[in-house]
């Protein structure tokens, strides 16, 4: 019999409801697992064991009394540390916010609590979500559970590592340029970046507002769909959230892709993509074809401009978003002594932010400066429009587009951290979904030398259902998702 921590959210939800397993047993089992392996992985910044167990007991009590239960009753969930949790510190992996305790919950947290989920802790990430490896964290890097010498991907590396290492069945990440999909790929989990506006950003600490969404991570497609159903929906507190009726995404999960048209953009398999990755993706496409999907090669020519456009928009927005961290109202303060405010601000910001964050603030500030604004920011916005048009065109012919999530296999910790350009290049296949706002998922599709490979599935706006259906069908007909790292 599997240990409780190994089972999926779907299965656990049923067992807890039927009192075959108590929420307390499940949550306690997860914390035992964390105690055993967390030292080696460093997926969490903060654990909320006491309140989690207390919540679990309350849910068990509700079950005994026969009260109405939420769909995630007793299910543990780990939350990326850039999503505000009332009374639980939310650090963004930054020294700047190392002691910041939000006085409010993000909308997604409220939704989770309403569905009786149990929040077990806050996960490690790249500082302010700026990174592809979770190495820029003030709290130390997260290690890839498949190979502790390797990066777990980023920036939601803690969330993906915790899910794959069975420290939690579910996790929330955020995806600004691939930050859910990249670690999902590197840790062999399912991860989805929803359409821009599907999930409320209220309470998500902004890195680049116009690009990012909170997204679910799980060990299988069903759990991912279940979590998406809970967190999505209109929120009056986020003006960019789209007013759409709530949807149960598990209803889309059919083991059937017959008649679906799958596009493979040639730009996704070009230069820079490792052979093992290319092979795994073609294998996946072939499998889907065998299962009844039609496939077609398509082209999105403007994609070669995606990476620079992405970094200009992201850094520009970041330079403004992060201006509020001055140490005055909250956050890191070098010294409490007096002095003029601008000197104090400068000292706090120099010491409170890490190198990569400072780099992006400076570059973003430059891109928005008088005389450069038209050349950089406005041009990036125009490129963005062109890329959206290309993807719109490709998705007119196809139901989904598929390709690799990451062009290369997980690399060694420390290998690229001093080469920002090489790291930025890793985002080349994930940023288009953020620039266009289109939904995209990463699912396990292979291994090379024991290291995971992820298949990226991009869909039409608000058509997460079709992405999940393709992902589910692929999962039903493969075993990649069943493999677990040996820890």
């Amino acid at each position: 019999m599997p240990k409780p921590y190994e089972i999926s959210a779907e299965e656990a939800a049923v067992k807890i409801r039927t009192q075959e397993l108590t929420a307390e047993e499940y949550v306690a089992s997860v914390f035992n697992r964390i105690t055993q392996i967390e030292k080696r992985i460093n997926a969490f910044i903060t654990l909320t064991k006491q309140t989690a167990l207390q919540t679990a007991r309350q849910i068990d009590e509700k079950i005994r009394k026969g009260e109405k239960l939420g769909c995630l009753a007793g299910i543990p969930i780990a939350v990326k540390d850039n999503i505000c949790t009332r009374g639980v510190r939310t650090t963004c992996s930054s020294r700047m916010l190392k002691d910041f305790v939000p006085p409010y919950d993000a909308t997604v947290i409220e939704k989770l609590i309403n569905q009786d989920a149990v929040i077990i802790g806050k996960t490690n990430m790249d500082e302010f979500a700026m990174g592809t490896t979770t190495e820029t964290s003030y709290f130390g890097a997260t290690h890839n559970p498949w190979n502790l010498k390797k990066v777990p991907g980023g920036s939601s590396g803690g969330s993906a590592a915790a899910v794959t290492a069975e420290e939690t069945p579910l996790a929330l990440g955020s995806d600004t340029g691939g930050s859910v999909r990249c670690p999902a790929s590197y840790c062999s989990t399912v991860g989805l970046k929803p359409t821009y506006g599907l999930v409320s950003r209220y309470g998500l600490i902004s890195y680049a507002n116009s690009l990012e969404q909170i997204g679910p991570l799980a060990r299988n497609v069903y759990d991912c769909a279940l979590l998406l159903s809970v967190i999505s929906g209109h929120d009056a507190r986020d003006s960019t959230s789209v007013n759409m009726p709530p949807s149960d995404y598990t209803a889309f999960l059919k083991n059937d892709v017959k008649g679906l048209k799958i596009g493979v953009p040639q730009e996704f398999l070009g230069e820079g993509v490792e052979d093992a990755v290319r092979k795994a993706v073609w294998d996946a496409v072939n499998l889907l074809e065998t299962l009844g999907a039609e496939y077609e090669e398509v082209t999105v020519p403007t994609m070669r401009h995606a990476l620079p456009a992405y970094y200009i928009v992201a850094m520009s927005e970041a330079s403004s978003n992060l201006a509020r961290y001055d140490g005055l109202r909250y956050g890191f303060r070098v010294k409490k002594d007096d002095g003029d405010w601008s000197t104090i601000y400068a000292e706090d910001r120099r010491a409170g932010f890490g190198t990569e964050v400072r780099r992006r603030i400076i570059l973003g500030t430059y891109a928005l400066s008088a005389g450069y604004y038209d050349e950089y920011y406005l041009k990036a916005l125009r490129v963005r429009t062109l890329i959206r048009r290309d993807f719109e065109k490709a998705l007119k012919k196809c139901d989904v587009l598929v390709g690799p999530t990451m062009p290369i296999l997980p690399f060694n910790l420390g290998e690229k951290i001093d080469d920002p350009l090489a790291l930025y290049m890793c985002d080349v296949l994930t940023v288009p979904a953020n620039l266009t706002g289109y939904p995209a998922a990463s699912i396990p599709c292979g291994f090379k030398n024991g290291l995971p490979i992820g298949l990226q599935i991009i869909g039409k706006p608000f058509d997460e259902g079709t992405i999940l259906r393709v992902a589910y069908t692929f999962e039903r007909n493969t075993d990649f998702h069943k493999r677990r790292p040996i820890l």
């Binding site: 939310t90 963004c92 309470g203 507190r237 509020r324 001055d326 109202r329 500030t365 928005l368 008088a370």
Partner: protein
């Protein structure tokens, strides 16, 4: 300095809080922040806490559209917000959400105008644009800013909706600037979106150039009482420089209201780069023809129309009607009085001459005084009922303004009723005549001396003698003397 001078060009950038809004511009905090405990009217949004997002107050857009229509502006079909990035401790996010007319930005409305009436002439002041933005918090010092041992920040004001109105440099004197501000205030007050009597609800920056010379900005003018002073000082300063052959520098200066001088803040070279870019957390707002028409249909009567009505319905001269509608409070006060006592011309005269002069000389707002329409009307009735003379009324009006005591009570307490008793007056006249034998002699042949005697009688009665009766009785007595001799 109050004379319009074609060589002086003044443009204004006026910030008015939309004080009638219930909540702030981007959050649901109450906009009633005055007098509250510091940092008590705040939430994650207006404190700029990590993860918080702004949501636009729809009512603020409606109010701003009203203002745009009243200012005869062209309203944008689609408007959006920009971030203005700069560091300052009163700004919790270290950027201000505002609107911008460059870098692809579109302000709420452009190309409007307002007419001001000045020295009997109507003058058009062009408004280049208006837009919505958020107010920063407030820095609080112990004593003067440069002597305070610390600075405290109060974010209660942070996020209050501001309407920014930018004019062309169409004003030619500090007085015109003041009159324009009064007009702007009156229009906004008539729209019911603004109460200018609230502290800090209207602030403005001005730009001035002399004889086509360099433009200087003056910031931190806190009311229209101050605008005339600040601009007069600045003109004097610039004229002084020019007379000495020193060039006026292009710079931004700060109006120090305590010392009543402007001081240099920064020169052109130090101008900040605000790195404006579109606010990604807010979506563009469509302002459809239908919506604008709906707002238009809700617009109340504006000062210019009200002035015309005052002229036609109450028979007031243009000048008087203009003065009365220069403030909504004044115009409302007038109409309230007329409702109580249908003597519009008398009411207007009393308001125009004595009431307004007293308020102006004592630097008081009508709302700050204790007079009410009921009390002014009561005073006028006392005159009409022959209880007091006009002279006495002039004397008790300041008392009504200051204490709010009912006029009748003041008159009774101070024994100011008109003396109409012939017996009493006769005795007083006898005394005046016996005390001024020479004047009596002169009065028999010289009309001037008659007036002198009447004046003496008035003096003795402290102005309470019924003037016409007094004159009549003095003349009667003189006649009887004439007869005797």
């Amino acid at each position: 300095m109050s004379k319009a001078d074609g060589t002086i060009k003044i443009g204004l950038e006026v910030h008015t809080q939309l004080t009638s809004l219930k909540s702030k511009l981007f959050c649901s905090c109450s906009s009633d922040y005055r007098g509250k405990e510091p940092n008590s009217v705040v939430c994650p949004v207006c404190l700029g806490l990590p993860g918080s997002l702004p949501v636009l107050n729809k009512k603020a857009v409606e109010y701003a559209v009203m203002a745009a229509l009243a200012f005869n502006c062209k309203i944008s079909k689609r408007m959006f917000f920009f971030r203005k990035n700069y560091y300052y401790p009163d700004l919790p996010k270290n950027f201000q959400i505002t609107q911008y007319d460059k870098a692809g930005g579109v302000p709420l409305a452009t190309n409007g105008y307002l007419y001001i009436g000045e020295q009997g002439k109507r003058k058009k002041i062009k408004i280049s644009r208006i837009h919505l933005e958020e107010d920063p918090g407030r820095l609080v010092h112990l004593g003067p800013i440069d002597q305070s041992p610390y600075t405290l920040v109060d974010y209660n004001r942070s996020g209050i909706a501001l309407l920014e109105t930018v004019t062309e440099p169409d004003m030619n004197s500090p007085r015109e600037a003041r009159v324009f501000l009064q007009k702007l205030r009156s229009v906004l007050e008539h729209l019911g979106i603004f109460d200018g009597s609230l502290e800090g609800a209207m602030r403005c920056d001005a730009n001035i150039s002399l004889a086509g010379g360099t433009r200087v900005e003056v910031k931190n003018i806190s009311s229209f009482k101050e605008v005339e002073r600040a601009l007069s000082f600045e003109i004097m300063r610039q004229k002084g420089l020019l007379e000495r052959g020193v060039a006026v520098k292009r710079e931004t200066r700060h109006w120090d209201a305590t010392r009543r001088i402007t001081v240099s803040l920064r020169t052109k070279e130090e101008e900040q780069d605000y790195r404006y870019f579109p606010e990604p957390d807010l979506v563009p707002i469509e302002l459809s023809e239908e919506y604008i028409n709906k707002v238009r249909s809700m617009m109340p009567e504006l000062p210019d129309d009200r002035m015309k009505r005052f002229m036609s319905s109450y028979g007031l001269p243009r000048y008087d009607a203009g003065v009365l509608v220069s403030s909504k409070a004044l115009a409302d006060f007038f109409e309230e009085c007329v409702k109580l006592y249908n003597k519009p011309k008398d009411i207007s005269n009393w308001m125009m001459s004595d009431l307004l002069r007293y308020l102006y000389e004592n630097n008081l707002e009508l709302q700050e005084s204790k007079i009410t329409p009921e009390k002014l009307v009561e005073m006028i009735r006392l005159i009409d009922e022959d209880v007091i003379s006009g002279k006495i009324a002039k004397r008790i009006l300041p008392k009504i303004i200051l204490t709010g005591k009912p006029p009748r009570k003041i008159v009774e307490e101070e024994g100011m009723m008109k003396i109409t008793d012939r017996q009493v007056l006769s005795e007083l006249i006898d005394r005046v005549f016996s005390e001024n034998p020479k004047a009596v002699k002169d009065a028999l042949v010289d009309e001037k001396a008659v007036h002198y005697l009447i004046g003496q009688l008035m003096k003795k009665t402290e102005g309470k003698a019924d003037p016409s009766l007094a004159a009549k009785m003095v003349n009667e007595k003189l006649h009887s003397i004439k007869k005797k001799t």
